[in-house]
Amino acid sequence: MTDGTALATSARVGAAMAPEEARPGAGRQAMNAALQPTLAELSRPGRGGGKVPHPPADALARIPASALRSAPLALPELNEPEVVRHFVNLSHLNYSVDSGFYPLGSCTMKFNPKLNEWAARLPGFATLHPLAPDELAQGTLELMHELQEALAEISGMAAVTLQPAAGAQGELTGILMIRAYHAARGDVARTEVIVPDSSHGTNPATASMAGFRTVTVPSAADGGVDLAALKDALGPHTAAVMLTNPSTLGLFERRIVELLDAVHEAGALAYMDGANMNAVLGRFRPGAAGFDVMHFNLHKTFSTPHGGGGPGAGPVACNERLAPFLPAPLVVKAAPGSYRLERPEERASAIGRVRAYQGNVGVLVRAFAYIRAHGASGLREISDDAVLAANYLRQRVGQGYELPYAGPCKHEFVASGRALRQATGVRTLDVAKRLIDHGFHPPTIYFPLIVDECLLIEPTETESVETLDLFAEALLAILTEAHDHPERVKSAPTSAPVRRLDEASAARKPELRWRPMTGAGTPCPT
């Protein structure tokens, strides 16, 4: 625990700024939109229609009655203007990158370029069937091939699959490849995967899905992996070590060389969770450093939008040793200037598919556009600016909050509300909710699990220094408020469309759908 500024000092800094001066709501417009009825509540039988022609009356005559529905389908019936208003009004209830600062650590909520949305919708890309013969798919195949090559170059790896649909699926792909690698060598005693205690939850969950036992090793006081503990855990049963670098604490793993040596000496392989690759583009290449396999989160590093939870894409890059095990099909060069998918059985040692078809190709188009817009110099500048912004904000936030680890940080940093909680009873959850009243999306909270009252803050490279200042001022103002009016912080938010929710009863008696509409169906209008 270094670099922590005493709370007394911070409170004084905050005290210089009354809440009004901190300009609540400065982050963006106030979120005061009205709640909306559901589609079912809006439905009036007889509304809507006209989208497709009516079929002939005997269209289903040849289908046996036993295969048909016994009751007509009931769905909401709305006309298009109502549909539009419903979704537009619902959209107003969302906070988004397009409307304000979204410093959600580990999630990289940077600006999503509009060109990329346009590109993915070009009819040539959008309407191409996934089983179209290669000769019809040359444009997309060329794009995918170029993206494979770019990701290989950026990661310092030998080969790339674009198939995994998300980071977690990339992890599963990589760990199953490692499993296949050991199995191919007859090395079947390796039943364990080691993860640090700061890891993403997906890492141990992936290890379990791939049939491994998870062994957790602690972090050292400086936030890095405890090398001695790792060496103790390594052995003939270790299949792989999964590391996030930079770590979930926003720190580069300073002992990376010794760490990777230890992993390989034990006969295990090193997996890198590339969720934080956006911090080190052009500064660190995992493959060149000795990692065997990694995934990218295209929706983080290469700015494809998060879509309210997805889709993302989780391409996997690996070295020569693991390349034979990549799931098929990869995109390969055919005749000069043309491309094709690998044929079945072309690489006999490939693990099975992890997804149908070729992956989240629409996401790949956006990531390709992002990489080509930036080039080598631009990608490095992205990381430089992200890291500079994070360190600047870290210093400003550190004027009031504990910083459990020494800097410099990379693209994100952790702060702790532990002292604040001890002094006032105000928890990090309350601070996060009060940020909403200041017009900001809260940072990630209570992750990583190893930091008490944790705030994980990631500003990204697309936020201006003015925004960073406003955000820091809001966090510091909340500190003052927590001392002077703790109830105000604990009851936040008050300016959002809803106040805090009863999550306990939602889980106790789950209501996961509206009341069935079945029976409401009316005869088809003719």
Partner: protein, 449 residues
């Protein structure tokens, strides 16, 4: 940098605050041995140049053929309202709704998606989305394994080959067994063989997996298969196509415990493979076994109705190695597309889409039979079926030159099956025109003559 805000002065101000003269100082924690040299990538492109390049690539794809290719991904009419709602930045640039107070838009649309899919499938619990139909199917198989504590899953040979492959991959980690059940000459699953496999007391079965329609477009005897599975203590898993559920019996009606499927036909473009929408639905009994996010209704402190992610104890960020799945990022925006699509098209519209596809497919069947390519199987179909074509793969290639994408040569999926080697799987939907059907039939007739 294309999208960054920082001026030279801004950077200077931040560096001054940090007491550094170069940003390099912030990267000194990277050991010198592993610091990267300059990346070898093409130089940055101006937006105009990049737009031209992207247009050129898109134009290299050929999407102008008369297409009869389905095999799990179907071209449908998508009302423009769907994409216009999807293009709202409030939806597509938001994250997972971890802060429900400022995410009610996303949360309510997921609740509505769950409700709409519950209406379509008849099952009460629908996950907020999985990656695609194949991974939803694999997760369904794993659910059956967890729920029954058995380690063997039976799958019909008439299941989409990629779904079989992905399910095999997902089961391989835990050393679980996936056994394929044969089909009858009429193209449906051999229930006698299924019954025999279920009767093996040494190898109890966790789940039985059939497609409706199956991979050949045919309608399976789902109710009988479901009864056989349940009699042996196994769960019954239906792999469904959502548009067909406007007219076909629901998974709930034939007793399925889990339904999985590809949501792409609900307003999502083909995009050479994704992003799509993995549908996963189950019964209330199995609610705590379902992987992936769930949204539930609740109240806020003032008693207002609101929505929140719930039953989170199944998920990886809480349960880590004991989670039901490692899934985190899902396909939320694709679920929104399906929600807008279903709201816009309505119950009668969806029934019309399904029925019109069936009518066009019948027209296609008659035209192709006339041209000399009769159906391969005798079981009823909805809007997709296999036809018998000698040298199918070669004919398929020649038809491309005539501007016809003649479905899928089943040799790609069943290379060792002598009957399927000479077959094409073709489909029609409401967007298929009579002119396209005539063109296909005429071209095929000439090839076969």
């Amino acid at each position: 940098m294309a999208y960054g805000p920082h001026t030279h002065d801004d950077r200077g101000r931040m560096m001054a605050a940090l007491g550094i003269e170069s940003v390099d100082a912030l990267f000194e924690d990277i050991p010198i041995d592993v610091r990267a040299s300059r990346l070898d990538l093409d130089p940055p492109m101006a937006e105009l140049d990049l737009a031209v390049r992207l247009q050129g690539l898109a134009a290299r794809n050929r999407t102008d053929l008369a297409s009869f290719l389905g095999a799990g991904v179907y071209h449908h009419y998508v009302p423009p309202v769907v994409d216009q709602m999807l293009l709202r930045g409030e939806f597509y640039t938001a994250y997972t709704p971890y802060q429900p107070e400022i995410s009610q838009g996303t949360l309510q649309t997921i609740f509505e998606y769950q409700s709409l899919l519950a209406e379509l499938t008849g099952l009460e619990v629908v996950s907020a989305s999985h990656y695609d139909g194949a991974t939803a199917t694999a997760e369904a198989a794993l659910m059956a394994v967890r729920a029954t504590r058995r380690d063997r899953v039976l799958v019909s040979r008439a299941i989409h080959r990629h779904y079989l492959d992905v399910t095999g991959t997902y089961l391989s980690g835990g050393g679980l067994v996936l056994d394929e059940m044969p089909t009858l000459p009429d193209g449906t699953t051999d229930l006698a063989a299924l019954e025999a496999a279920l009767a093996d007391a040494e190898r109890p079965v966790a789940g039985v997996l059939l497609g409706q329609p199956n991979a050949f477009g045919l309608l399976e005897p789902m109710a009988q298969a479901s009864q056989l599975a349940h009699a042996a203590g196994a769960l019954f898993i239906a792999v469904v196509e959502p548009v067909s559920l406007a007219v076909l019996a629901t998974p709930a009606e034939y007793g399925a415990d889990i339904a999985a499927g590809e949501g792409q036909p609900l307003g999502i473009a083909a995009q050479y493979g994704g992003p799509y929408l993995g549908i996963l639905a189950t019964t209330t009994e199995l609610m705590r076994q379902i992987p992936g996010r769930l949204v539930g209704e609740t109240r806020d402190l003032d008693g207002r109705r609101a929505f929140v992610m719930t039953l989170r104890a199944r998920e990886q960020d809480i349960r880590r190695d004991k989670a039901a799945s490692n899934i985190c990022t899902n396909q939320a925006l694709c679920a929104l597309a399906a929600t807008v699509y279903l709201a816009a098209i309505g119950p009668h519209g969806l029934r019309d889409v399904a029925s019109l596809g069936a009518a066009r497919a019948r027209e296609l069947e008659l035209a192709l039979a006339e041209a000399g390519a009769p159906r391969l199987h005798s079981a009823p179909y909805l809007n997709e079926f296999a036809i018998r074509v000698p040298q199918a793969q070669a004919v398929h290639e020649r038809l491309l030159q005539r501007g016809v994408l003649a479905g899928l040569a089943l040799a790609r999926w069943y290379p060792d099956d002598p009957e399927l080697r000479d077959a094409l799987l073709v489909c029609a939907t409401e967007v298929t025109t009579s002119a396209e059907i005539r063109r296909f039939a005429a071209a095929l007739g000439e090839e076969l003559a």
